[in-house]
Amino acid sequence: MKPPPFDYHAPRTLGEALDALAEAGGDGKVLAGGQSLIPLLNMRLAAPGQLIDINRVAALDTLVREPGGIRVGALARHSRVERSSGHPLLRQALRHVAHPAIRNRGTVVGSLAHADPAAELPAVLAVLGGWVEVASVSGTRTIPAASFFAGPLESALLPGELAVSAFFPSLPPRSGSAFAELARRHGDYALAGVAAVVELDASGAVTSARIGCLGVAATPLVLDLTPYLMASGAFADAVAYVRERAEPDGDIHASAGYRRHLLGLLAARTLSEAHATASSPGPSAHRITGGTTDE
């Protein structure tokens, strides 16, 4: 369990990083928190010839509240975002990502780039309809969540591209979110998990209900359940629909049938909780105002 040989680059600016990535082309890999990449290298499951370590690029170490959402820079660690994003769904989900020691190193953007189908953050970005800002020597582009996750451990990033930040839209007023998952051990990747967002109108009627599911498909599965939640008494139908739409695989930790069963339970739980939060009066903790976060 020692990595194969590689050249190591430690750029200090975004420009240097992009140059190094461009030069490396398909042979290059970005090293962020290293919590996923280093094990892959040590097990020789990945053998990039060029490693571009972005940890010294201070410009990427940002966490900025903007109108409409929170922008998470490529070096913002899970633990910082958990503490300071002010975004309820991010906070709810990050509690389930690994353990504190790993959250102190691992990055939110790294987790998105890694695109593990059982990871929490891709499902959160997907259900919120967020996006990833990407840069390369030839310019920048914005990739919406819906097209960012291409398959298990596969993102839409091309060789030479760096994910610079991710944007998580904030929740509107009179909305609520919830996150729940089931893992074999505390902090493990989930067997199944659900991030739910429910929005209400002024009268308290549901105007939107969406869930992002993890662990039950090759990429995060976003389902719009608004019709079910608008109609009264259709909650059970929503759960049945969720189970029907999921395409979980069975593996050594859980059968497909059990995952499907869990997904329904988790969807019901999170939808109820999100609905209850949206309905409860009180200061709208969910609104995000502009400026840098206070930590």
Partner: protein, 784 residues
Amino acid sequence: MFGEPIVRVEDPRLLTGQGRYLDDLGRGALAAAFVRSPYAHARITGIDVDGALDVDGLVAVYTWEDLPGRVGEPLPLLIPHPALTHGRTAYPLARDVVRHVGEPVVMVVARDRYLAEDAAGRIQVTYQPLPVVVGIEKSASAEYLVHDDVPGNVGAFLVQEVGDAPAAIDAAPHVLEFRLDIERSASMPLEGRGVYARWDADDESLRVYSSTQTSTSVRMAIAAKLGLPPAKVEVIAPDVGGGFGVKIVHPWPEEVLVPWAARLLNQEVKWAEDRREHFVSSAHERGQVQFVRVGFDDEGRVLGLDVKILHDHGAYTPYGIIIPIITSTQLLGPYKLGAYRAEVTSLYTNTLIVTPYRGAGRPQGVFCMERTMDRIAAHLHLDRIDVRAANLIQPDEFPYDQGLIFQDGRPLIYDSGDYPALLRKARDLIGWDSFGSLRAVATAEGRRIGIGFACYVEGTGVGPYEGGHVEVDSSGRVHVSTGLTSQGQGHQTVFAQIAAAELGVPISDVQVTTGDTRRFGYAVGTFASRAAVMSGNAIALACRRLKEKALRIAAEALEADPRDLEIADGQVYVRGNPSASIPLRTVAVLSNPLRYAFDEEAQRATQFATGSSPDEPPIAPGEEPGLEGKDYYSPVRSTFAAGAHAAIVETDPDTAEIRILRYAVVHDCGRLINPRIVEGQIHGGVAQGIAGALYEKMEYDSDGQLLNASFMDFLMPYATEIPRIEIDHLETPSPLNPLGIKGAGEAGVIPVSAVIASAIEDAEGFEISAMPISPDDLFRLRRH
């Protein structure tokens, strides 16, 4: 001192990173890596090493053909047994056929481990795959063979019998028959195995460091393999980061190959196992299928028990059939049965070898017996503890002869115990009698809870012997050494407690060395919960010899009768007259008549300073210079510890998650040397038991690939998965040894699967017959 819960003296060093583990040593040594078989069963048709030759820093590549003489012979079968008619062991490097994934095929030595792995990755081995035997049923069917010359894949067939169980069952008023399954797990110490060897060409001697549970036996094995006199081989177990059984196996291929290569290359060579290697090239344990038939009366008394055990021992049998022998004897637990028969068939499969892991066959035996007790209770609608109580050996029946032969080749005679008291205490500790109301409350809240119970007896402290050596130096420091090794159990503390108590010295003056053949050459090893019993007693006996000598010398100096002397706080004094005293360090000086005064203390023992009689030799016949004591402890047979565990679990009606709400342990290991350390051992054991009950298994596919060979997928529980453990003790001293102690190392793990199964069964209302059990398993069982 003896019996006090003092904190572990080794912890500050180990917890602040001052430990010296195998891989902390030999920084400049060459590194070894191995090409291991990716096939579970295959014939090697070619090995092409050319690709590796380009790697800068490569030093050597070895295959079986390079191994001379005894180095190339199969590894020893460590524990032969008449029933093991078809024992087979591996070659250190595969000769022509590989029989499990992970079997070493090529050894690479390079400047460092990175380069060694680079080179290993470039070596091409071609294989012709052979049919793979995975799983007990597949092995028993004998459709394919693991070894061509082992018919039916049967390595051993063993029967243990008292009375005529089949006849007793046929005549019994009630009979039950069922099957039980237990999965594989593994010791999985934090530190893997490792070997580091230094050859001294001028001295023609070898020093080997190994992360082993037996340095003395590794030394003998290496000496034999390399044709060296044992006196020219030193083996040292440095700090060892856990063993739990896997490191008692020896010599591992690497323990032969690394020293051999170090001598051949005349350079230091080191190999430190990585986690992936550990999963596929060390050892596993536990896997068994049991077919149970039991006959009993209306009170639940067992009239006859007949168990057919199919034991999966993996691809080779270097450690013999110790595990199924223990299963089939310790299965009896604290009970006296009308008649008993166990039939063990020990089977080959194309999987990693199976050797003892903490508990060593007992968890399987206890699972069988305790599941049987629960089934009897359910059948008769009796209380589960009452059924157990009806079968217990009573306190006035000790020594109790179970009529079988135990793993040490000696009769299975329980030395002492009070099993009814154990049961009572455990019943009280968990609140068995008030559980009904607890359940009623939970049920009203829509929750499901259940309570479980299990007992066990553990034969501990098996022979043949251990020794202890104690020396007081001229500064008053006490040096204790014993040949058996430590893997983190707290030996530095408990052995020091024993020596401090025996000698009357402050514990801070005592230094303990274990597992270093330079200090103590004769030893057996650390396994079978034997360190405290064996080395503890040997050290006590050695201290008594030393003390006797010290009092004799002090008596002369104080002009007193040795019988009037005592030692306290490092001072020998006349009882009732503390002013007439002499420090032990001075006694140490006087014990060694000197010609040369190398320091101030020594002046007192030189030939013109002592007032010894001019007509006597300075050292009387039969005496030795120095203040030392050495002795051995060799018991007639094992001493039997016991315990009862109980747990309350909650099962989620929706998600099928299983949560342990309470876990209670009552434990009897005779006199407690240090209750804190015993409780630590119990905590660790229970944690490993919970691991085996709810989390860990080895996921082999039908091709013999281990699918979960990493900590990501092999679910060793975190601290977050382990509940608080409530402990109560009972102390029935062992009459077999001077200190009255019994072993405690393995106890915690033994009944856990049985307890958890019992509790889940109670919560769910259907039978639990296989462990471990995951939420997915429970989900599936609910639908059946």
